[in-house]
């Protein structure tokens, strides 16, 4: 006989498993209702006043030659001086590193006078030589032109005859000469850099700069720390430290604001703004934004060498399809429901805040929400509904689109839900693909539609330049400054005209015509201009300058006004507000009671049967 040699092991320990499950249930349930706290370093309660700002967007690079994201460029505003700046009151050009500027009679030679009282944080004076070197680097090294190359593409020669004179010679007139949003870097530090495409300026701290703040420390997705530049020519900032702390979760940031761990939180949801608005010591700022929120369609990604790439849906190359899709988007509902009134309905490319460039489509041109008309347009274009109610192209391919959505942006997901239903009625399928980082498929052209948005500067040149053919990538392998692979000859022609137009009124007219053209192509469909919804603690920040000064925003300004001007409140101590924790307990309470009851009951059962078990 074969002996039973191996006894079956006890089928796990049931007690342990049940306990584990219970714990898992408890932990999940609690973590689901509790605020997921970030592992923030609360160690340095250093002396003096710290202004802590909650941010969520990752830094793409700390190198001013590569940085394009809003967080990075906002920080560069603080760390480096630009030739000129924008007035906080009305965004007109005011002196920055340059104190004065004069064009030649033919407007092809611009002479800037560089201020003498600006020094780099390592003690060396900031001179015209630094500015000339920065521009020359961007003109000669394509890698250094990644972020701001549109400004220097038309430069013929940049020289510094002496320490306080900078001379820029142009190939053609250029309208942006008093709005060159290019951080000027110290030559003596940056001339040692080898490959500009790889150098991210985040190894050696403090980073030498001449702005109102000096970057002293940076940890990816954890924090960026800045100290005031005591010798800043416009006057040193009032706070002793400025910290941008990462909260990838909006609720965690708001909870931190309520507890006084951070002084400022941008990008609130309507519900958060409403809840914070009723709280003591917190001021909610609801200001017209400088962003647009758009629906971008893949126009068939192409490189400058003419090679097409990506896998965008072919039907989107048909202007009628693009038109029909946008006809079926109800912008008023989006503003009412998704933004809950904290936005303005989208019209042209440039937000109404920039009044002189703001453009609206004419009545006949406007694609007003009209699903019946959208269906008619599609019928006429040959995309008829099949037996399943799906629209099919002549090639037999159904109109099933994908839309790239930022997983971190609740608005994208919410608008995606609406689009699915509106387009579903039209017979058009939509798959919402939410990714943490959309840049990968985006750069490869592997998308049909995408949620898109840019912050617009007082000078619109940059946001217009990203839709010109010249910004397409060199080859399908490269990445260009282009936003959405748009290459339209008519748009390019107008862009070239406005770039050389010095007459403000004529230039504004050209910019409006560009927006009109862009509207007609249907490549960029502006859905809304979201407001800046932000909040700060009044017991930590006594006063702070918005831009524009009357009813403007604080986060992402065209300048360093908000953080430079912020004055600490006299007793900037940790004002623990118990109101917030009461709310949390309101939420936690029922869940905790249920869990405790379940736990006690299970434990008792377990005890009563314990001797039977093991």
């Amino acid at each position: 006989m074969v002996m039973v040699t191996k006894a079956p092991p006890r089928s796990a320990s049931a007690a342990h498993r049940a306990l584990r499950l219970l714990l898992a249930a408890g932990v999940t349930a609690v973590s689901l209702v509790a605020v997921p706290g970030t592992a923030a370093a609360e160690d340095d309660k250093s002396a003096g006043n710290t202004l802590t700002v909650a941010v969520s967007q990752s830094i793409d690079s700390l190198s001013p030659f590569l940085a394009q994201k809003l967080t990075s460029t906002s920080i560069h505003r603080l760390a480096y001086e630009y030739l000129t700046n924008y007035d906080a009151k009305d965004a007109r050009t005011i002196p920055g590193l340059a104190t004065a500027w004069t064009p030649s009679a033919d407007k092809l030679t611009w002479t800037y006078t560089i201020r003498e009282n600006s020094t780099w944080s390592d003690g060396k004076p900031a001179t015209a030589e630094d500015a000339a070197w920065t521009f020359n680097k961007m003109m000669t090294d394509p890698n250094a032109a990644t972020a701001n190359g549109s400004f220097t593409a038309n430069f013929a020669q940049v020289t510094a005859p002496d320490a306080k004179t900078l001379v820029i010679r142009l190939k053609k007139p250029q309208a942006t000469m008093t709005a060159l949003d290019v951080p000027i870097v110290p030559k003596h530090v940056w001339e040692k850099v080898g490959d500009f495409s790889k150098f991210n300026n985040d190894k050696q701290f403090p980073i030498v700069g001449n702005g109102p703040f000096v970057i002293t420390d940076f940890k990816v997705d954890q924090y960026i720390k800045l100290k005031p530049n005591k010798t800043f020519w416009r006057g040193a900032p009032k706070f002793d430290e400025l910290v941008f702390k990462y909260y990838k979760d909006g609720d965690a940031a708001v909870a931190a604001l309520q507890k006084g761990e951070v002084s400022f939180v941008p990008n609130l949801t309507p519900a958060q703004a409403a809840a914070l608005g009723t709280q003591k010591n917190i001021k909610v700022n609801d200001a017209p934004g400088r962003r647009f929120y758009a629906l971008a369609t893949n126009p068939g990604a192409k490189a400058q060498d003419g090679k097409a790439f990506g896998n965008g849906h072919k039907a989107l190359l048909d202007p009628e399809v693009r038109k029909a899709l946008f006809l079926a988007v109800d912008r008023t509902t989006l503003v009412d429901k998704v933004f809950q009134g904290h936005a303005v309905e989208g019209e042209g490319y440039i937000p109404p805040r920039f009044g002189s460039y703001f453009w609206k489509p004419e009545t006949g041109q406007k694609r007003t929400y009209d699903p019946a008309e959208a269906a008619k347009v599609l019928d006429a274009a040959g995309y008829r509904k099949n037996a399943d109610g799906k629209r099919v192209g002549k090639d037999g391919r159904p109109l099933d689109f994908r839309i790239l959505c930022h997983a971190t942006d609740p608005n994208d997901k919410a608008v995606g839900k609406y689009l699915q239903e509106w387009w579903g009625e039209l017979g058009v399928g939509l798959k919402v693909e939410c990714l943490d980082s959309v840049s990968d498929p985006w750069v490869k052209g592997d998308y049909d539609l995408a949620f898109d948005g840019w912050s617009v500067n007082p000078d619109p040149d940059y946001v217009l330049s990203i839709h010109t053919c010249g910004t397409l990538p060199e080859t399908p392998k490269d990445s260009g400054a282009t936003d959405n692979f748009i290459c339209d000859r008519q748009f390019d022609g107008l862009y070239a005209q406005q770039a050389v137009e010095y007459d403000a009124a004529k230039r504004a007219d050209l910019v409006k015509r560009m927006q009109s053209r862009l509207y007609d192509t249907g490549y960029m469909n502006i859905m809304a201009y979201p407001n800046a919804l932000e909040a700060y603690r009044t017991d930590q920040i006594k006063s702070i300058t918005t831009m524009p000064e009357a009813g403007g925003n604080l986060w992402g300004q065209d300048g360093y006004w908000s953080w430079w001007s912020a004055v600490p409140a006299a007793s900037a101590s940790e004002g623990e507000s118990s109101g917030s924790s009461t709310n949390i307990w309101l939420i936690l309470g029922p869940a905790a009671i249920v869990l405790v009851a379940v736990g006690v009951w299970t434990a008792r059962r377990r005890r009563s049967t314990a001797d039977d078990r093991e």
């Binding site: 089928s11 249930a25 689901l32 699915q420 709310n583 939420i587 029922p590």
Partner: protein, 339 residues
């Protein structure tokens, strides 16, 4: 092994080996009285005998299960939730998901019209909670079944073949066992496209090692019994032994494991959806919590948006655990058979 070993009755093929296999199963309370033979009035055929035996096994199982109050409670809870989920198309309707036809305004507190208030689109949260049960339960069931299926397959194969093959397979199992399940599931859900099936797959392929270990141990125990040797001697191959003898004997274990696994799977599904890794376009409990977070409900104090899905998840997980434990103790005589 000698020739004096009793052989199977003449006329039966090796396949009739199932009969002793199920009856002598270590999991079905050995020593209990044999099931009564088929009624004498009709001549007993092989299949009617089998059915009679199965019926009586189920009856015996139920009689034993019925004595466990916690198990009954769990079962009642499950039946209620399943009923709500299955009748949802008629009670709340698929329209409850629609954002364009939402009846309310954003984030209304509970009222007579909306007993649990509304979400940021103005949809009824009670309706969404009921509708979300469908996805949560479905994903939980599918993921648990997938996980247990993989675990059973790996366990039986490893236990049956033994030797270096078993060692290699079990080392792979160990590797999965020590990997943090949630982290692995997050990685899988991130790299694959966002859909319900991704979540099912992510949970399924990460949570099988426990089952595999249990099943392998049981397989070894079953295969060391004499009747397996008999079956082999009568010409039963690997497939026959594994499929006809081992599988029916590990089934009770697998059943209990599945029931317990569902609650884990539902929790994991909710966690993944809460972390934003689920399909954002379908309504599930975890997804509702993620939506609540997107709307800023936590910091705004909108408890009616957060508490119900969280409590629902906890209750369903609890119900499945109670059922699973009851099933386990009925099927495994070593666990409190006296009760």
């Amino acid at each position: 092994m000698t020739s004096t070993e009793p052989t199977a009755p003449s006329g039966t093929t090796a396949s009739s080996g199932t009969t002793p296999a199920t009856e002598s199963s270590p999991a079905t309370a050995p020593g209990k009285k044999k099931p009564p033979p088929a009624t004498a009035s009709t001549p007993a055929t092989k299949s009617s005998l089998t059915w009679a035996r199965r019926r009586s096994t189920v009856a015996r199982f139920w009689a034993s299960y019925r004595t466990r109050r916690a198990g009954l409670l769990g079962l009642a809870g499950l039946a209620l939730i399943a009923l709500l989920a299955l009748t949802a198309p008629w009670t709340v309707g698929a329209d409850v998901q629609s954002v364009t036809q939402a009846p309310g305004t954003a984030l209304e507190p509970p009222s007579a019209e909306f007993p649990l208030g509304t979400d940021q689109f103005g949809r009824s949260l009670l309706g969404l909670l009921i509708w979300g049960a469908r996805i949560s339960l479905l994903v939980g069931l599918l993921a648990a079944v997938l996980s247990v299926a993989i675990g059973t397959l790996v366990g039986i194969i490893a236990g049956h073949y033994g030797g270096w093959f078993s060692t290699v397979v079990m080392r792979i199992t160990d590797w999965f066992l020590v990997m943090p399940t949630l982290v692995l599931a997050i990685v899988l859900a991130t790299v694959m496209s966002r859909s319900m099936w991704t979540v099912v797959l992510a949970i399924g392929v990460t949570s099988w090692p426990t089952t595999a270990r249990l099943v392998r141990a049981q397989t070894i125990a079953v295969e060391s019994r004499p009747y397996i040797e008999r079956a082999t001697a009568l010409g039963g191959g690997h497939g026959h032994v594994m499929g006809r003898h081992v599988l029916p004997n590990v089934m009770p274990l697998v059943l209990a494991q599945t029931t317990l696994g569902i609650s884990t799977a539902i929790l994991t599904e909710a966690t993944l959806a809460f972390l934003g890794l689920g399909d954002p376009t379908v309504v599930s409990w975890g997804g509702m919590l993620q939506d609540a977070r997107d709307a800023g409900a936590v910091s705004s104090g909108h408890w009616w948006y957060l508490a119900p899905p969280g409590i629902a998840i906890a209750l369903v997980a609890l119900a499945f655990t109670l059922c699973g434990r009851a099933v386990e103790s009925v099927l495994n005589p070593k666990l409190g058979v006296s009760r």
